[in-house]
C-alpha cells in the first residue's frame, strides 16, 4: 500500500474534484471481476496461502477504490493493483515472521489435500526452493515466469530499475538452481510446504 500511496498524486494544497462514488465503484468492480483471479493467483504464489491471498487482493482493491480520485492515470489501475498486491503480500510475510518470533509455532493453514495431491513432487520441490530464496527475487521470478511481464512492467510493479530487475531475476534463478541441486531432486514432504 505504501507504494500505491506513493504513486497516487494529490496533495494538501491541490484542490481535488468532488468524489464520485458510483463511477469509481463501477469501474473498480469491473476491474475486480476482470482481474481478481489473476491477482489472487499472484498473491497465492507470494504468500502461499489461498485465504490470505484473497484477503490481499480484497485489500488492494479497497485501497484502489479509496484512492481512486487521486490516481494520476486511471488507465494504469492494473499496474497500481499489481504493486499493491506485492506490497500487501510483503507486509503479510513480515507480520508472519514477527508473529513467529513471539508466538509458539502452531498449525498454520496448510494447502488442501486436493491441491497437494494434484501437485507433482518435482513441482513441490521447485516451490519449496522458491519459498527459500529472497523475497525480492521471488517476486521478480513470479512476475517474470508466471505473469509473463516484461522487465519494464516488473520494474513498474516492484519499484526497481530495469537493470535491477534483470540482475535480481538472474541471481534469483541461480539461487533457485542451487537449492534444487542441494535438494538432489528428491521428493518433498508435504510438511515442508507449509506457508511461510
Amino acid at each position: 500500500m505504501t507504494r500505491l500511496r506513493r504513486r497516487v498524486t494529490g496533495g494538501y494544497a491541490r484542490p481535488t474534484p468532488p468524489p464520485d462514488p458510483p463511477t469509481a465503484q463501477r469501474v473498480v468492480s469491473n476491474l475486480f471481476a476482470q482481474h481478481r483471479v489473476g491477482l489472487t493467483r499472484l498473491a497465492l504464489l507470494l504468500v502461499d496461502d489461498e485465504a490470505t491471498a484473497q484477503d490481499v487482493v480484497q485489500e488492494a482493491f479497497l485501497g484502489l477504490y479509496r484512492h481512486w480520485q487521486q490516481l494520476s492515470d486511471p488507465a494504469s489501475a492494473l499496474d497500481y493493483l499489481r504493486s499493491a498486491v506485492l506490497n500487501i503480500s510483503r507486509s503479510v510475510l513480515r507480520r508472519r515472521r514477527t508473529a513467529r518470533a513471539y508466538v509458539p509455532r502452531h498449525e498454520s493453514p496448510a494447502r488442501s489435500a486436493e491441491s497437494l495431491a494434484m501437485m507433482r513432487a518435482e513441482h513441490r520441490e521447485v516451490l519449496v526452493a522458491l519459498q527459500a530464496i529472497g523475497e525480492r527475487q521471488r517476486e521478480v521470478l513470479v512476475l517474470r515466469y508466471w505473469a509473463g511481464l516484461s522487465e519494464a512492467q516488473i520494474a513498474n510493479a516492484t519499484g526497481l530499475s530495469a537493470g535491477a530487475v534483470k540482475s535480481t531475476a538472474s541471481r534469483g534463478l541461480v539461487a533457485l538452481e542451487r537449492r534444487l541441486q542441494a535438494a538432489g531432486g528428491g521428493s518433498v514432504a508435504p510438511a515442508q510446504l507449509e506457508p511461510r
Binding site: Y12, T16, P19, D20, P21, A24, Q25, V28, S29, F32, A33, R36, V37, T40, R41, L44, L45, E50, Q54, D55, V57, Q58, F61, L62, Y65, R66, H67, W68, Q69, Q70, E114, S115, M118, M119, R120, E122, H123, R124, V126, L127, L130, L141, V142, Y145, W146, S170, L173, V174, L176, E177, L180
Partner: protein
C-alpha cells in the same frame, strides 16, 4: 542457469495456481466505504488562522511601540541620514558616516562608522583624542544641536568619562572600519532632527532621530 530450471519454475508456478479458478474464490467484490478519499483535515480551522494573523500583527505593533524593532518611520529616517564625509588626518584619508541616530528609552543613541581609506601598506589610523573633549580618548567632544539652539552633550558616567566608545585602543588598518557610539540624555521634548557636531569634522546637518 540452465534452461531446464526456468522451465521447471514456469511449470511449477502454473501447477500451483492451476487449481485456483473463479469457482474456488470465496470472496466477493469488497464492500466499498461510502467516502472515497479520506480528506485531509486542515491543520487549524479558519478562525484559528485569522486569530493567529491578528496576533502576529498585534505583536508587530507592540514590538514597534516597545522599541523592540524599528517601525517604518525608522527605516525612512535611516534613508535620510547625511552622506559620509571624508577627512584627511595626518595624510590618512578616513571616511566618517552617521549610521544611526535613535531614541532608546531616555537616551539618544548616535552611531558613527569610521573607515580607513588608505591602501595596503599605509599606516594604521587611530581616532585617538580627536573626538574627545580636553584630550580624552573617547567621543566626549561630540554634541548635538537642536533647531532651537539647545545643545546636547554626551551623558557622563563619571567625572571624566562619558557613555560612549573609548578610542584608546582603536587602530584601523588600511580599509578597516569600526563603529563608534555615543549616548545623550534625551530632553523632555525630543526634537525630530538635530545637527551632529563631531570635532575636526564638518557638521552633519538635520539628522532625523528615529523613535
Amino acid at each position: 542457469v540452465s534452461r531446464e530450471t526456468e522451465d521447471r519454475l514456469r511449470s511449477a508456478l502454473q501447477a500451483r495456481t492451476a487449481t485456483m479458478g473463479e469457482h474456488t474464490l470465496t470472496t466477493q467484490a469488497p464492500q466499498y466505504p461510502t467516502t472515497l478519499v479520506r480528506q485531509r483535515q486542515p491543520l487549524l480551522p479558519r478562525w484559528a488562522w485569522a486569530l493567529a494573523a491578528v496576533a502576529v500583527v498585534a505583536s508587530i505593533v507592540a514590538g514597534v511601540l516597545l522599541g523592540a524593532h524599528s517601525s517604518s518611520t525608522a527605516k525612512e529616517n535611516a534613508a535620510k541620514l547625511p552622506p559620509a564625509v571624508t577627512q584627511t588626518f595626518d595624510s590618512t584619508k578616513v571616511q566618517i558616516a552617521v549610521t544611526s541616530l535613535s531614541l532608546r528609552g531616555k537616551l539618544i543613541h548616535l552611531e558613527l562608522t569610521a573607515k580607513n581609506l588608505g591602501v595596503e601598506g599605509d599606516p594604521s589610523w587611530s581616532p585617538g583624542t580627536r573626538f574627545g573633549k580636553s584630550s580624552d580618548y573617547d567621543l566626549s567632544g561630540v554634541y548635538l544641536t537642536a533647531s532651537d539652539g539647545s545643545r546636547l552633550t554626551p551623558t557622563p558616567v563619571s567625572e571624566d568619562e562619558c557613555l560612549c566608545t573609548s578610542t584608546i585602543s582603536i587602530y584601523l588598518k588600511a580599509q578597516a572600519s569600526t563603529t563608534l557610539s555615543v549616548n545623550f540624555t534625551a530632553p523632555s521634548k525630543v526634537p525630530s532632527k538635530v545637527d551632529v557636531n563631531v570635532p575636526q569634522l564638518q557638521l552633519f546637518p538635520d539628522v532625523p532621530i528615529s523613535k
